[in-house]
Amino acid sequence: MDEDILTTLKILIIGESGVGKSSLLLRFTDDTFDPELAATIGVDFKVKTISVDGNKAKLAIWDTAGQERFRTLTPSYYRGAQGVILVYDVTRRDTFLKLDNWLNELETYCTRNDIVKMLVGNKIDKENRAVDRNEGLKFARKHSMLFIEASAKTCDGVQCAFEELVEKIIQTPGLWESESQNRGVKLSNQEEGYGGRACGGYCSML
């Protein structure tokens, strides 16, 4: 069963508390919405296998509590993550304004600079929208992130968000396969040109 799994990817969900991180994850993994979902303490963890472009990838998804006080616990979970989903609540402007802080934190603790980032504006089912879609789009573009608006409640955009993130990770060389660490690296005697060929025909005169 595990044989056809291409790779295991570590994905992180971050953002202010209450924006719907746990709900998005629950929607993605169990396809349900639970209005009685408890506030996360520390970090939580879920697994799901998905198939993107015919490749199966196992996702280990770490959900974090957004409260300031818990943040001291989470940096460890940034380590080695290949993808991160940064969530804000489109009905709460303050959660959008906090995004910069989250990106800083990501930069500080993330061990790799090629991590794939996705911005999700959640709760678009609600009526009192406070952040325009274009603002989210602009922010994402500025920070080279993927962007989507979603609703954990109505299911809008959720599947798509995860799939696109995974697809992007798989397309990023060196991010997920261990062999690829060496890709594109040329070794010291590259300037020797023909010198090392087995044919023996290449030569300078003497």
Binding site: L37, V43, S76, Q181, V185, S188, L206
Partner: protein, 1006 residues
């Protein structure tokens, strides 16, 4: 048979009797032969080499600047495997495909190429390109490296197959067969066009027959081979290249003396530069200079070159080009350091095994004193310390050692050891001079520079270049190389670990480590040291807490008391925190009031049980009345203007416990444990519970600081978005704010409510410690103690690579070499991919080290060449720049042409170098100096004059290689045949003589 047979015969006569390599295969079976031919045809078809070849005339030098590619396949003759390879110069597609203006009976391209003079003597090319000037050809050669086609009949059979295949397919690309042992590079081949054919033939001899050593003899053989019926023949066109080798220049110039290491250690403590890596070659990285003097366009009759006289004076040659031969892997210091350090990674022994237990354990106390050598420098001592000099310390320590063991048994010289320890722990020196207490390292207060270079550590996962860890790595690297190898390494490490323990026990902070939690961007060893420092800090804080608090302590938690339970506030309210500073003093009174209790009850909450229990039992709201009577404790400062919901008192942010610092291995462990709980509801619940210690602790602190508070109050501080406020209209018609917990907080017996109910009002300082510094420190110390030298080397390799890259960078800036800049970039990107992962493969590490070594070698070569060409001494700015450019080209291109040949500035320097070398070999008088020679050259003026005094010593040695290309277009085999290109290349070196002929004939009218 054809002429080939004759040539082959010559060649065969020259080779010693050798065993036939493929006796077993019966080549004569008709069916096998036919199958072979059809396979060849198939491959030619697949590669689309069928039909008329086309292409534009070759540009000058395109064989050097263009791209060559090859395509290979495998075919077999019976069970003998051959590889068939198409070599070709990549050409613009439009010429390859556009078959519009093809003239049916035009000569095949290859035949035209035979006459092209614009690509003679390419610096680097397949030998068949060099010999025949071809842009494209196919070679059939035995597939296995030691297979060979040896017998004449088999050679002929192969050649006939080739001929048939070419004929059947109409392929116009020359097809060669490699015969004899591969090292001889013997090829025969054929090219066919419409009514024309070129035979490629070859002679290869060990020694050149006398009559072929000069132009006139070669012209004779060329003409006789052509056997052209025309008289007189048109003049033969000639290209000649003579190559001279310069080897003996080391005598004048030694690139660099190995540094005198003993001098480093000898003198003053301050003079020692343990933090530096050495650099440069220990031997000349340039072994030879090859000068090629070329006459590209001569015509028969213009010059004389026979067995008694020659017009070919290299000084007069119209073209000069130079190439250098680089010493293979010249010994370079930085590379050696790295390689030796890397070798440590493979050692198996533990520190104890290397040092022998006796030294440090059996002999008991007295020896232990010595291993604590440094402790005497930093410990408060009853004797005024300034009276003790370092040398005093060392001498007494040495004497003690001598008592127990021979002094030489000590793996590290005690002076070296002391110097290193003072280098690593400069605070010990501060102490020595001041007699005052060691300051917690000076660098701690300086914010790290934000330069790109400084931040390299996060890419390499090493450590900042001013950190203890980085310095330790460099010291170990140097010790490994110069001071006793692995034994010295083990010894220093043991001393280091002893020092770490001493610092923990004595409460001295470790210098050279950034404040705060372990930096996960650094190597694990660095994190461990930081962790130890965190423990020391907290212990310091606890110990200091025992002393009476003085009022001048800053309440804002500055670096000196970070070990205390520390300030944390809801981030959303950071700004208010700043504003409230003024009021802070008040809350601190409560802090210092109860100072004594802080330590009495550190890990004992028993006595508080009665106090908290009843509070917990009653629900969130009711319980408050009674507890409101409790005395508030552990207040940090008020939380803005917020007041408690019920008593209406200001809401205070409590002093809370600082979360536990973590190293990456601990974090890894923890996240593994959490992940193992699985994804079930139960697992999730357990996971939350395991992580709720911090929440509970904060709730307790909060309750202690805010008697009478309820969960809503707590949530307003801790997770404000979970307290939802709404404007409502009350009974009297007023709009009021009504707040309530969010839905998820109201879920009965959710973990927040549960924790709230369990939490007792206990201030942080009386709570059980979330972080057990004693235990963690002991864990770190144990971890350090069990590290073998090999483990250590693996931990620190990133630091050493980091330092080496910085060193290469520094040296490169002095020379400004583009290719090194490129390599440095590659090393950095390669390293950051390899080093950031745990347990990188040795192979990849070796690759990185090899890259660093190649960069070092290039810089060393540049320096060697600059010295040889006297660039530093050159006082004319313009000339200097030209020379510099020339030297850079020499480093980066296979061959560089000398502007002005023997008469240009570079040319005259090269000339001088040769003259000097000649003098040196003639008269073994080594004192011959450059200067006297310079004058002589100036005096002698033109080379004609010099030729007259040639009686003494020739300026140049005999050429190491003579290459000639003879070309002509004449009808063959009959006078009325089509005039076709004929060509012969010859090369004479010390080891061999080769003639490579291409003779074309008209096949239509014959």
């Amino acid at each position: 048979m054809r002429a080939t047979a004759q040539w082959l015969h010559k060649m065969a006569a020259d080779s010693e009797p050798e065993s036939e390599v493929f006796e077993i295969t019966d080549f004569t079976t008709a069916s096998e032969w036919e199958r072979f031919i059809s396979k060849v045809e198939e491959v030619l078809n697949d590669w689309k080499l069928i039909g008329v070849s086309s292409g534009k005339p070759l540009e000058k030098g395109v064989y050097t600047t263009g791209i060559w590619e090859e395509k290979s396949d495998e075919i077999s003759f019976a069970d003998f495997r051959f590889s068939i390879t198409h070599h070709y110069l990549v050409q613009e597609a439009s010429y390859k495909d556009g078959k519009e203006e093809l003239v049916e009976d035009a000569l095949p391209l290859s035949m035209q190429d035979l006459l092209c003079m614009d690509n003679d003597f390419p610096p680097r090319a397949h030998c068949l390109v060099r010999w025949y000037g071809l842009r494209e050809f196919v070679v059939i050669a035995p597939a296995a490296n030691n297979d060979a086609v040896l017998s004449e009949s088999k050679c002929n059979l192969l050649l006939s197959s080739v001929s048939i295949a070419l004929g059947n397919t109409g392929c116009q690309v020359p097809l060669f067969v490699q015969i004899h042992h591969k090292w001889r590079r013997m090829y025969v081949g054929e090219c066919q066009g419409h009514g024309v054919r070129t035979d490629f033939e070859m002679v290869h001899l060990r020694k050149v027959p006398n009559q072929y050593t000069h132009l006139s003899g070669l012209l004779d053989i060329f003409k006789s081979k052509i056997g052209c019926p025309l008289t007189p023949l048109p003049p033969v066109s000639i290209a000649i290249r003579l190559t001279y080798v310069l080897q003996d220049w080391q005598q004048y110039f030694w690139p660099q003396q190995p540094p005198d290491i003993d001098a480093l250690i000898g003198g003053e403590v301050g003079g020692l530069e343990f933090g530096k890596l050495p650099f440069g070659a220990c031997e000349d990285p340039i072994s030879e200079l090859h000068l090629a003097a070329t006459w590209p366009h001569l015509t028969e009759g213009i010059i004389v070159d026979n067995d008694v006289y020659s017009d070919l004076d290299p000084i007069q040659a119209p073209q000069w080009s130079v190439r250098i031969r680089k010493a293979d892997n010249p010994q370079c210091l930085l590379g050696d350091f790295l390689t030796e350090f890397f070798k440590l990674c493979r050692r198996k022994e533990s520190t104890d095994e290397i040092l022998g237990r006796s030294t440090f354990e059996e002999d008991g106390k007295e020896v232990a004193d010595i291993t604590h050598a440094l402790s005497k420098l930093t410990e408060p001592a009853p004797v005024p310390i300034h009276k003790l000099s370092v040398t005093n310390m060392v001498h007494s320590a040495k004497k003690k050692i001598r008592k127990h063991r021979g002094v030489d048994d000590s793996p590290l010289n005690i002076e070296v050891l002391n110097t290193i320890m003072l280098f690593l722990f400069p605070d010990a020196a501060d102490k020595l001079t001041n007699g005052s207490e060691a300051r917690p390292s000076t660098s701690r207060n300086n914010p790290p520079p934000e330069s790109e270079e400084y931040n390299l550590y996060s890419q390499f996962k090493s450590a900042p270049s001013d950190s203890l860890t980085y310095k330790l790595a460099l010291c170990l690297c140097m010790i490994n190389f110069y001071h006793g190898g692995v034994k010295g390494v083990a010894h220093l490490w043991q001393e280091f670990v002893v020092e770490m323990r001493r610092r923990w026990e004595k409460n001295y902070l470790i210098p050279g480590l950034a404040n705060g939690s372990p930096d996960l961007r650094c190597c694990l060893l660095h994190q461990k040291l930081q962790m130890l420092n965190c423990c020391i800090e907290r212990k310091q804080a606890r110990d200091e807490g025992k002393k009476t608090y003085t009022s001048d302590r800053s309440p804002s938690g500055s670096s000196c008391d970070t070990g205390k339970a520390v300030v944390r506030s809801g981030g959303d309210y950071q700004k208010e925190t700043e504003k409230e500073r003024g009021e802070v003093g008040k809350s601190w009174e409560s802090w210092s009031d109860s100072e004594e209790e802080f330590f009495e009850c550190l890990s004992d909450t028993e006595e508080l049980k009665g106090n908290g229990q009843e509070n917990g039992k009653k629900g969130t709201k009711e319980g408050s009345k009674e507890s409101a009577n409790l005395k508030p404790e552990g207040r940090l400062h008020p939380h803005g203007k917020l007041t408690l919901l019920h008593p209406g008192e200001p809401l205070y942010i409590p002093v809370t416990q600082e979360p536990a610092p973590m190293t990456e291995d601990l974090l890894e462990e923890q996240s593994e444990v959490l992940a193992k709980l699985g994804t079930s509801a139960e697992g999730a619940h357990l996971r939350a519970r395991m992580q709720s210690a911090c929440l509970l602790s904060d709730m307790e602190s909060f309750k202690a600081a805010n008697p009478g508070c309820c969960l809503e109050d707590f949530v307003r501080w801790y997770s404000p978005r979970d307290y939802i406020e709404e404007e409502v209209v009350d009974e009297e018609g007023n709009r009021v704010l009504k707040g309530e917990l969010s839905a998820r907080m109201k879920i009965p017996s959710n973990m927040w409510v549960e924790a709230w109910e369990t939490a007792k009002p206990v201030p942080a300082r009386r709570q059980r410690r979330l972080f057990d510094d004693t235990r963690e420190a002991e864990k770190v110390l144990h971890y350090l103690a069990v590290q073998k030298p090999a483990d250590l080397a693996r931990h620190l390799l990133p630091c050493v690579i980091h330092a080496a890259v910085l060193k290469v960078k520094e040296e490169e800036t002095l020379e400004d070499i583009a290719s090194v800049k490129k390599i440095i970039k590659q090393i950095i990107s390669h390293s950051s991919k390899v080093l950031r992962f745990p347990n990188p493969e040795d192979k990849k590490l070796e690759e990185i080290i090899a890259q660093i070594m190649s960069a070092e070698a290039i810089i060393a070569r540049a320096r060697s060449l600059k010295a040889k060409f006297g660039i530093e001494k050159c006082d004319q700015e313009e000339e200097k720049e030209d020379l510099e450019r020339f030297v850079n080209c020499l480093l980066e291109q296979p061959e560089v042409s000398v502007i002005g040949a023997g008469r240009g500035p570079a040319g005259s320097i090269i000339h001088k170098l040769f003259v000097n070398a000649q003098r040196m070999t003639e008269s073994s008088d080594e004192v011959a100096t450059m200067t006297s020679l310079d004058e002589e050259l100036k005096r002698s003026g033109s080379s004609d004059e010099r030729r007259l005094n040639l009686g003494a010593v020739a300026d140049f040695p005999p050429p190491a290689g003579r290459e000639l290309i003879l070309r002509i277009t004449v009808p063959r085999p009959a006078p009325y045949s089509k005039p076709l290109p004929q060509r012969m290349y010859s090369v004479i070196t010390k080891e061999d003589f080769r003639l490579a002929g291409a003779f074309s004939a008209d096949t239509t009218f014959f």
